[in-house]
């Protein structure tokens, strides 16, 4: 009898399933609960494991207007970038984002220095307008983030949001807040499997369950080091499926912020003859960055351009057909 032509790689471990959002019955106010992870196969290989959840797209929204926002993006988000709540609602609507990733960049001491109170008000206002959970990011200034994010965490206690990022040098304050208030956390490591693992151990050591951690492997855009994160993610995911539970967390990839820093997404056609329509080029830069990350195992993509979100959302729907 002919041997069947198939090689199956069976996983020994599933990726942790992480829940974002809590409804009224579980102590929050979210109407829509989102789940990621839970899979026991490499991306979209349905025949050899379970893949219970589709990857999610979170629209990146900021609390301040970026001064060097690429013109393609500026045109697409006209009239929205100075109104974060309207911006978020628009992205959840027609663009079809699954949730919002709010970056509190304006709390940075050098870029607006907004207070914790302002941040809390914004997040509370936003939660009233959307039914889904949120991703809330600090400004990257460690001390300020510890103040601001702890305050937001406390004010949204029980909502089961996703907060980020914690790094090896600064993880205790925010982790403690997320434990106390029932949220999830993003653990950031600089394109390094060992640091990712180490940080997850540190976080779980102080008491956060492993199914409340998301790994940010720190990606580069298409053409700007994308392949480093791509391979780190494949390595980590393979290790996780082979049984390493300290790497068995969903991945979040900050696609929008990286892709729109690329020259190819910023430069007009007149400045760069032969490079084609600048709008499409920028959108496709974000789209192709996102797709490569999906192939490497991304569970949450953060994105910016509404058209790029639409294209990737459709791609995910197609990829999830089994």
């Amino acid at each position: 009898m002919a041997e069947e032509l198939k090689v199956l790689d069976r996983a020994c471990l599933k990726i942790y399933e992480l829940t974002m959002g809590a409804c009224a019955a579980s102590g929050g106010s979210r109407k829509k609960i989102l789940k990621v992870g839970g899979q026991s196969a490499m991306p979209f290989l349905f025949e050899e494991g379970e893949i219970p959840h589709a990857p999610l797209i979170a629209a990146e929204v900021s609390d301040i207007v970026e001064d060097d926002c690429p013109f393609v993006l500026k045109n697409a988000l006209k009239g929205l970038t100075d109104k974060p709540v309207d911006w978020a609602v628009e992205m959840m609507g027609e663009a079809g984002a699954d949730l919002i990733c709010l970056k509190l960049q304006g709390t940075h001491p050098d870029f607006g220095n907004k207070t914790s109170k302002e941040a809390v008000e914004l997040v509370e206002g936003l939660l009233k307008k959307v039914e889904t959970p949120l991703i809330v990011l600090g400004s990257g200034q460690a001390d300020k983030d510890n103040d601001v994010l702890s305050a937001v965490s406390e004010a949204t206690k029980g909502e089961r949001l996703l907060f980020g990022d914690v790094v090896q040098e600064n993880y205790k304050t925010l982790t403690a807040a997320c434990i106390a208030d029932g949220h999830n956390i993003i653990a950031e490591s600089p394109i390094d499997v060992n640091i990712a693992k180490q940080l997850n151990i540190l976080i779980s050591d102080i008491g956060l369950p492993l199914d409340r951690i998301v790994i940010n492997p720190t990606i580069g855009a298409l053409g700007y080091g994308l392949e480093y994160a791509y391979s780190i993610m494949e390595r980590a995911r393979n290790a996780a499926l082979a049984g390493d539970k300290m790497l068995a967390m969903p991945f979040i990839c900050f696609v929008g912020q990286e892709a729109w820093r690329a020259k190819e997404a910023k430069v007009s056609e007149s400045e760069w003859p032969g490079s084609g329509n600048a709008d499409t080029r920028g959108i496709m830069w974000e789209v192709v960055t996102a797709l490569a990350m999906l192939q490497a195992g991304a569970d949450i993509l953060t994105m910016r351009h509404p058209q790029a979100i639409r294209i990737v959302k459709k791609a995910i729907e197609d990829l999830m057909k089994r």
Binding site: F44, G223, S231, G274, S275, V287, L319, K321, R322
Partner: protein, 442 residues
């Protein structure tokens, strides 16, 4: 797939007769495994064993060549499933499908557009590889005429997609020496196409809708045409991915010869963005050829860039030549910046300086391709190294000031560096993205 010394030993006579010049059959087997000596040193190897050993020395996935001269594409011969395990060897050949109904001027225009799809990124030329010509109707075929135009206008590798054996024969009489890839679109014709392609010694591609179908068909034709390309097709994206993954796994892990060939995907959806989505997915995993319809640079450039990323050798980061680079119309008053020779770092910094439109000098230190922080940790980018580089590249003769801008990440070296070099050190931003505003406010 290579056999180990022990595997080979099992196939030898095990008499230790020493005729091969070795003390034991095992010692001989070990040398054979390293390919250090030829098999015929042992006079007792049977023809059957010889066949097994020769088979095993073939690559798991056959290397197929399309085109000739500089534009030749080599595809296949991959050895791993994930690039971090070693590397991917042969970048996906990217090409465009043209239909023979196009008029001469339309064809010329199309080829012009295709020829423009060449770009430079991080010091490498990235370009498209193939032009496929598709016969649309067999009556009053314009295929041969169109082919003649293509042959005149492009040196890219050709993919011939004729509908009949007559067209195929005529076409190959004209261009077999260019080593085109023949594509069989109708599996009822596969048998005759295989014979013709084999006679002309050109590779053959055909479509199958499952791994087992592809496997059974290659078995039928491989003796006539050894260079085969498998066109994977499905109604569902995830099934494409599954088939491509299975083909790669079966050949590499199981040494399944009947599927040990390069693969191709035709991503010719009319929705251009959707075809880029497909192409991206399968450039990453695991198409050796991707054929597109859209020729617009805004769609093609991201795909070429993705291919460049995925097929970069993970062990060998791209490096640039250590030197002082002049950006814009820099003169002896322009600012001087310093960074490493890791190409990604260099080109990112270069891009941001260009964006700032401030003419500058950028010194690239030989850090053996390490990025700023890694090089700092490995002492390839410290005060001493930088001070030496300033002398080596004779910076004092190039500019009349002594101000040096260093990356924010290595601000810790500034005191030491001022002392060692005698230059005034200015600490720049940590990320290259901060350079335009930094330089403008200098």
């Amino acid at each position: 797939m290579a056999l180990s010394g022990l595997d080979i030993y099992k196939l030898l006579p095990k008499t230790n007769c020493k005729k091969c010049g070795f003390q034991t059959c095992l010692a001989f087997a070990m040398q054979l495994a390293k390919k250090a000596i030829p098999l015929d040193k042992c006079p007792f190897v049977t023809p059957e064993v010889r066949a097994v050993l020769e088979q095993a020395s073939q690559p798991a996935i056959r290397l197929v060549e399309i085109g000739s001269g500089e534009a030749k594409s080599s595809i296949g011969n991959e050895t791993v499933l994930f690039r971090h395990e070693e590397k991917f060897h042969h970048p996906t050949a990217i090409g465009f499908i043209l239909e023979d109904v196009l008029s001469e001027s339309e064809l010329n225009k199309a080829i012009e557009e295709i020829n423009k799809c060449t770009f430079e990124r991080v010091g490498q030329k990235i370009e498209v590889n193939l032009v496929a010509l598709k016969e649309t109707k067999s009556k009053d075929s314009k295929f041969i005429n169109a082919l003649k135009i293509l042959l005149k206008k492009t040196t890219l590798g050709l993919v011939l997609m004729p509908k009949t054996t007559e067209t195929l024969k005529t076409a190959l009489e004209i261009c077999a020496s260019q080593k085109p890839l023949v594509y069989c679109s109708e599996n009822s014709l596969l048998d005759s196409f295989a014979t013709i392609a084999g006679n002309f010694r050109v590779p053959l591609a055909f479509r199958g809708s499952s791994v087992s179908e592809l496997s059974s068909l290659t078995k039928k034709i491989v003796s006539r045409v050894p260079d085969i390309v498998l066109d994977v097709h499905s109604e569902k994206m995830s099934d494409y991915l599954w088939q491509l993954t299975q083909l790669r796994r079966l050949s590499i892990k199981k040494n399944e010869r009947s599927v040990g060939f390069p693969t191709m995907v035709i991503a010719d959806l009319t929705d251009e963005a959707a075809s880029v989505v497909e192409a991206s997915m399968f450039i990453a995993k695991y198409a050796s050829i991707v054929l597109l319809k859209t020729r617009k640079p805004e769609y093609v450039l991201p795909l070429l860039t993705l291919r460049q990323n995925i097929f970069t050798d993970p062990q060998k980061p791209l490096q640039v030549e250590p030197a002082v680079y002049t950006i814009g119309a820099a003169d002896d008053r322009s600012p001087v910046l310093i960074t490493t020779n890791f190409s990604l770092t260099y080109y990112t910094v270069l891009g941001e300086i260009e964006t700032s439109r401030i003419p500058s000098h950028l010194i690239c230190v030989d850090t053996e391709g390490m990025s700023v922080l890694t090089a700092w940790a490995a002492e390839k980018f410290n005060a001493e190294k930088v001070a030496d580089t300033l002398i080596k590249f004779k910076l004092e003769e190039k500019v009349r000031h002594k101000n040096l801008i260093i990356p924010g990440y290595v601000s810790m070296m500034s005191g030491d560096l001022e002392e060692k070099s005698g230059w005034k050190i200015l600490v720049g931003p940590r990320e290259a993205a901060g350079l335009p505003s930094y330089l403008k406010n200098l």
